[in-house]
Symmetry: C2
Subunit: 230 residues, 2 copies
Amino acid sequence: MRIAVAVRDFKSHMPPTLTGFCNSPDEGKGMARDFRVRWALQEVGLPYVMDFVPMAELKKPAYLARHPFGKIPVYEEDGMVLFETGAIVLCIAARHAGLLPADEKRRMQAIVWMFAALSTVEPPILEREAILYLEQDKPWSEQRMPLVEDRVRDRLRQLAARLGAADWLDGDFTCGDLMTIDVLRRLEGSGVIEEFPNLAAWIARGETRPAFQRALEAQRADWARQQGER
Amino acid sequence: MRIAVAVRDFKSHMPPTLTGFCNSPDEGKGMARDFRVRWALQEVGLPYVMDFVPMAELKKPAYLARHPFGKIPVYEEDGMVLFETGAIVLCIAARHAGLLPADEKRRMQAIVWMFAALSTVEPPILEREAILYLEQDKPWSEQRMPLVEDRVRDRLRQLAARLGAADWLDGDFTCGDLMTIDVLRRLEGSGVIEEFPNLAAWIARGETRPAFQRALEAQRADWARQQGER
């Protein structure tokens, strides 16, 4: 019993680690999925260690043993090995103050928004990215794009109606805002967000949070350092 | 204080309510999203009341006030109004024994699988459904289908490798198995699942659970009753 407790205490003092792309194709702009976890870690003030993985390693057995779908990020804290940014951010929010309200009912609302961000808002946005990156050479891509962008708009219209004139989705800033805002950042440059001024203002409100800025600065610095080492 | 406690006790004895489609187009086969919640409720042994909503009501203000994206199901328990099946099943699992392990680390793994089911496994399956139901008249649909089905296969191959010869994803049956199996049921009739015998066996293992059977029986009975009332 003594040993188990000692080991547990020791582990809980090790900073968590997070995998990210080595030489990320977004050039440190925080567009990959490790960013939302870095942002969450900054919100709760938890130091962390980045583990940069070359793209070619992601589909090899050693990495797949940690992440069965061969993606980034993998998060390790206190002996837990987690994947899926929804689960990782929820784990951080549950263990460290700053991202979930104290009241159980309001906590559940924040969790609703985490799932809404990842399983209702993000899928049509990823379909749009698939046209740009996986189907760009297909004869149907140009014709199909407006169809898919309308699916994105449908979701954004509903989200904009729900947010209204509020600063955040449900009172104070929570991991539900963090996740949904980070999902919407994928639309940067598409011109679609600008059609919904209250969503654009909400994203800007998220991006000006000191924790967001610190996370972005760290991401840029990591990328720049890797370029120097090439 | 007395009153608040009394109200709380009273509410907690009210059975939860769940919205579903009135005259569901799947004819009671449990292919809509209320089914996974009904299955979860049967697993934990919690009685519930169905609230059947005509399709035309879903996009009206009264329903949108409960579910900003105008979908089913909406779940109400103890004064909470929740949407997103991931959040609903997680709420049920957190409040009632039977779907989450007691150990914190194993609980987190079940939550990882809930997010994996909804944000990694389901999206390509929904893209496939979009071809069948939203783009069936488009000139590219026939050519695009194999491309999208290969995206589905990529995910299933990785999932099959992770499951291996195990009965369930991580020891005992959890809400992670429930959610992932229910997502894979959407592929019924596509012939894709049959390419992965361990996944097919895993789905069958889920479908033979008494709680699954009770949920399906209730769904069929509700549909038949609605047909009688038309």
